[in-house]
């Protein structure tokens, strides 16, 4: 669904479409967390967040997306964490919008960690 929000009908159509996506959600226990402190924002975290939302919408995925503040690894921002039940927490660093389709496609959907972008792991 693209274009303008002309009236309430558009909003209700969006609601119904989204409800369908939520009902067959694939990875409901997966979390994506983007660092959104001053350091993250200055390094491009907003563009990474926008790319993540676009990619999830494109693939019709309903995943929990969250933001967090500075965690003290400012030199590696933008930081994106993927948390999956069996894999713990994987931290990707210096993420660009171009990396996002790979992180979502490989890791979020298929559980394959994108090793060349990993900067940290926590169980």
């Amino acid at each position: 669904m693209t274009g303008k929000l002309k009236n309430l009908d558009d909003l209700r159509r969006l609601r119904d479409e989204t409800k369908r996506v939520m009902e067959d959600r694939m990875a409901s226990e997966t979390k994506i967390i983007v660092g959104m402190g001053t350091c993250g924002i200055a390094a491009g975290a907003r563009e990474v967040m926008t790319a993540i939302l676009e990619e999830l919408d494109k693939r019709q995925l309903s995943v929990n997306v969250l933001q967090t503040g500075c965690i003290g690894m400012c030199q590696n921002e933008p930081l994106v964490d993927i948390v999956r039940p069996e894999q713990g927490r994987i931290t990707y660093g210096r993420v660009t919008p171009q990396d996002v389709p790979r992180i979502v496609g490989q890791h979020v959907v298929n559980g394959q960690i994108v090793e060349d972008l990993v900067i940290g792991r926590t169980d």
């Binding site: 609601r15 989204t18 001053t38 975290a45 563009e47 967040m49 933001q67 500075c70």
Partner: protein, 182 residues
């Protein structure tokens, strides 16, 4: 920060960290008065008077992971460079209002940037917080209020990726109209 919209995102992060449940963002582009006013007002826990006095100093922060806080000092510096100023009104227990003023046609004024992306990014994961965004360009106004939207979208949360992608395009269109109208 290359865009004023990124500064706004940064100010809103401060409000969220302060526990705000309502955040109001106002941008007023007054071309006749050659003045741009940006304000972010929240109902978070506020700051003590002594801290307000120090908060524009780059060596002051509440954060514990890194000892230097740069968000507000950077915006303060930009406002000063653009013939403007930055003021902080804060009451402990009630909230904080940050107001930044700039000369609209100043050489050094950064572009406003992508407000649609800033707004949708701040909505991510914030189901408990309400946002009001008002944007005025002379007499024209755009208003975005999550309170009405949430009721219409229920039971779908505003934080669903599909909804946020839709809202970004919607806000972008509306802002283009706002600027195209003059």
């Amino acid at each position: 920060m290359e865009e004023l919209a990124l500064h706004i995102l940064d100010l809103v992060q401060n409000s969220l960290v302060a526990g705000a449940t309502f955040i109001s963002i106002t941008i007023n582009e007054n071309r006749k008065a050659n003045r741009l006013t940006i304000s972010v007002e929240d109902n978070g826990h506020g700051m003590e008077r002594g801290f307000v006095a120090r908060v524009l100093d780059p060596f002051s922060t509440t954060r514990t992971t890194r000892r230097v806080g740069l968000g507000l000092p950077l915006l303060f510096m930009t406002a000063r460079q653009c013939g403007g100023d930055l003021t902080i009104d804060s009451i402990p227990g009630q909230g904080t209002k940050i107001t930044a003023i700039f000369e609209l046609n100043h050489w050094d004024l950064p572009p406003l940037g992508d407000m649609a992306a800033t707004i949708t990014t701040m909505l991510v994961g914030q189901e408990e917080t309400e946002f009001l965004y008002r944007h005025l360009v002379d007499e024209a106004e755009f208003c975005f209020d999550t309170r009405g939207l949430k009721a219409e979208l229920s039971p779908v949360p505003l934080t669903e990726p599909k909804v946020l992608v839709f809202l970004r395009r919607y806000i972008k269109d509306k802002l283009a109209n706002l600027h195209g109208g003059g």
